[in-house]
Symmetry: C2
Subunit: 113 residues, 2 copies
DNA sequence: TATTCGGGTTACCTGCAGGTAACCGCATGC
DNA sequence: GCATGCGGTTACCTGCAGGTAACCCGAATA
C-alpha cells in the first residue's frame, strides 16, 4: 500500500500587507508597548507602570517578541542598579501612524456612546 | 479560622481607547472583513473569495462577532437562491481609517525589504 | 541585618481563535 | 434524477496568548 504523495500545491506566498502588519501589532499588549515608546526610550518598569494591568511575565514576552521582529531595540544601561532601555527601531517607527490611527478611532468610539 | 475577605479594590473601569478599538479589530480575520467591506456590501461567498485562506466556519464566526459588536450589518436578500449581504455599520465605517493605516504601513513594510 | 528595587524567570493553568472535515436544506439547472 | 451553489453548522483537535504566584541575583539603602 503506497501512500499517496499529496503534492501540496504551493500557493505563491503573496504576502498580504494587512496580515503582515497585523502580525507585528496583534495581541493584547504589543500595540500598547509601541504606543508608549512613541516619544522615545522607556525603561522596563516605566512601561509596566504605563500599561495598566500587564504582568512582568507577559510584558517580558511581548518585548522579546517585538525585539525578535525588529520592531524595538533593547539596550542595557550600565548604571546602578543596571537598567534596561527600550526604544522603537526604524521599522517600529513606521508602525506609529497605524497605532495612532487606532487610538484616534478609539477616542471617537468613546465619544459616541 | 475565618477566611480573609480580600476586597478586590475595583479599579475605575477607565476604558483604554487603544484596547477598546483593538478588541473590535483584533484576530487574524476581522481586519480583512472590514477592509473588503470598505466600498460597500459584499455577500458571504464574495468575502470567502476575497479573503484568501479563510474557512467558512471561521468566516461565519467573525461575521457573527462583528455583527454582535455593532461593526457590521447582516441583511438577508430575498432572491433565489437567497443570499446574504454584509455591510459596515456607522461604527464599522469609523474603523476604516485605522485599517487603512495598517494596510498602508503593510505596503511600506513590503517595499523596504 | 533586612528590605527594596530593577529586571526579570519559572511552573502551572485557562480560554479562545483557528484549522480540518463532514454534513445540511433549498432551489435551480443539466 | 443528480449535481451544483449558497450560506452556513457541527464535532473534534491544536496552539498560543495570557493570568497567577513564587522565586532569582546583585547593589543600595534603612
Amino acid at each position: 500500500m503506497v501512500k499517496v504523495r499529496r503534492n501540496k500545491v504551493e500557493q505563491p506566498p503573496e504576502v498580504c500587507p494587512l496580515g503582515e502588519c497585523m502580525s507585528l501589532i496583534s495581541g493584547a499588549w504589543s500595540p500598547h508597548v509601541i504606543w508608549y515608546l512613541r516619544d522615545g526610550p522607556r525603561r522596563f518598569s516605566e512601561l509596566r507602570g504605563d500599561i495598566k494591568g500587564v504582568s512582568a511575565k507577559v510584558l517580558t514576552a511581548r518585548l522579546r517578541q517585538l525585539e525578535r521582529d525588529g520592531v524595538l531595540i533593547r539596550r542595557e544601561v550600565d548604571s546602578s542598579p543596571p537598567t534596561v532601555e527600550y526604544s522603537l527601531s526604524e521599522l517600529g517607527a513606521e508602525l506609529r501612524p497605524a497605532i495612532a490611527a487606532i487610538v484616534d478611532v478609539g477616542h471617537r468610539l468613546k465619544q459616541r456612546r
